[in-house]
């Protein structure tokens, strides 16, 4: 189809994101079938900080040295853990701590710059038996893994220990299942109320329950844009796209022509829809 040649390049002014839909790819994502919103781009995951338990760190896998660490098939960059110091060994160039949080023990190393006095003070509160928070990157040395500690400090309030456990559970679940349902998704069980809130039409939304699963990635959009996308998705697949007049008819009297064309412009800016045979026909980027 020759008209698709334009869409990959930068020549189309509406279409800065190419066919990728701005990172919300519903298929081809390694993370889950419905294009899980938990699917971070690779580079994002390696810069993010993940709270973990020692057991999770011990179970992390690495394809080969220098490859990224993986936990539950999710890339891990920086980690943070809260545990009790069970041993401190100060050596010439570094300091080795073993941290025990009740689920296992991990090693944390801090490379010391002994000429820097400030540094020495910063690390002085840490002794056997004290609960501390360690933050740093996961590394290997030989066949041992350890945390290369960029930051360590004693825990000041005991609640931090339990907070950390809860946060580790919370983040593990989010990465597995996506964030807790946003406003768009939460409307699903109340479908009749949702349909009347957005437009007067009910027929076009009869299939809501089956197609809503694909709307994870659109739940952050305003209602009018969501309903435009929903309408286009429900039409039988058509390379020529859907004419804007058909969209306007289906959305109902609520959206006047100007609002609809503004909504379509915004959707095109974000890459969710694109124009096909001419400026009046649109399709959703998939």
């Amino acid at each position: 189809m020759s008209q698709y040649n334009d869409f990959g390049g930068a020549s189309n002014p509406y279409y800065s994101n190419g066919a990728s839909g701005g990172g919300y790819m519903p298929t081809g994502s390694p993370f889950s079938a419905s294009g899980s919103p938990g699917g971070l781009k690779r580079s994002e995951a390696s810069h993010s900080l993940r709270p973990l338990t020692a057991a999770q760190i011990i179970k992390a896998t690495q394809a080969h040295t220098d490859a990224d660490w993986m936990i539950d098939d999710m890339e891990v960059g920086q980690v943070t853990i809260v545990g009790q110091v069970c041993s401190v060994q100060a050596q010439a160039t570094n300091c080795v701590y073993w941290i025990d949080d009740g689920t296992g023990r991990v090693e944390a190393r801090h490379w010391v710059d002994s000429s820097n006095e400030e540094d020495a003070e910063k690390w002085s509160g840490i002794e056997d038996g004290v609960y501390i928070r360690v933050t740093g990157g996961l590394k290997t040395f030989g066949n041992k893994r350890y945390i290369n500690a960029t930051h360590m400090r004693p825990v000041k309030d005991a609640h931090e220990i339990y907070f950390h456990t809860l946060e580790a559970i919370h983040v593990t679940l989010i990465l597995e299942r996506g964030p807790p349902l946003g406003i768009g998704q939460a409307a699903q069980p109340r479908a009749p109320a949702n349909a009347t809130a957005i437009t007067g039409g009910t027929n076009a939304y009869a299939n809501q329950s089956s197609s809503v699963a694909n709307f994870d990635e659109y739940s952050h959009l305003p209602a009018l844009q969501r309903s435009i996308i929903r309408f286009i998705l429900e039409q039988p697949h058509n390379d020529e796209g859907i004419h804007v007049a058909a969209i306007a008819r289906a959305i109902g009297t609520d959206g006047d022509a100007l609002k609809i064309s503004q909504a379509l412009d915004q959707l095109m800016d974000e890459g969710h829809v694109f124009s096909t045979i001419d400026d009046s026909h649109f399709n959703v980027s998939r």
């Binding site: 338990t53 020692a54 057991a55 999770q56 011990i58 179970k59 539950d72 009790q84 025990d100 009740g102 689920t103 296992g104 023990r105 038996g129 609960y131 309030d157 005991a158 609640h159 339990y162 456990t165 809860l166 580790a168 559970i169 593990t172």
Partner: protein, 111 residues
């Protein structure tokens, strides 16, 4: 490495850990030189057999020790947790730790 597991528990979980190392966050009710009576996060009372020289100065502590039976722990170590600890929060956390959805995945190093 994997032998150093001391799971956090409350009094209801003790029978499952007999002979194993556990961590019991608790409030000290009274103590003498040989043993202490504490209240675990779920309100149950547990007897802790003390060993010498471990300071238990705060009201709330986390006792690390071996479970002797469903109501007794032999202490190996102890961490002071201050004078103000929300035991309901701690109990909710402990129940989540033991929830089958998370327990093996996040809190046991071998599996």
């Amino acid at each position: 490495m994997s032998e150093h597991v001391s799971t956090r528990v409350n009094s209801a979980r003790l029978p499952f850990y007999i002979g194993k190392m556990v961590r019991l966050p608790c409030k000290i009710l009274n103590f003498n030189s040989a043993s202490a009576t504490v209240q675990a996060a779920d309100g149950g009372e547990v007897i802790i057999r003390l060993i010498a020289d471990i300071p238990m100065s705060d009201t709330f502590v986390e006792v690390i020790g071996n479970v002797v039976d469903a109501t007794t722990i032999k202490m190996m170590g102890c961490v002071n947790l201050g004078s103000d600890l929300d035991l309901k929060l701690v109990n909710d956390t402990i129940e989540l730790i033991h929830d089958p959805r998370f327990y093996k995945r996040m809190f046991v190093p071998d599996s």
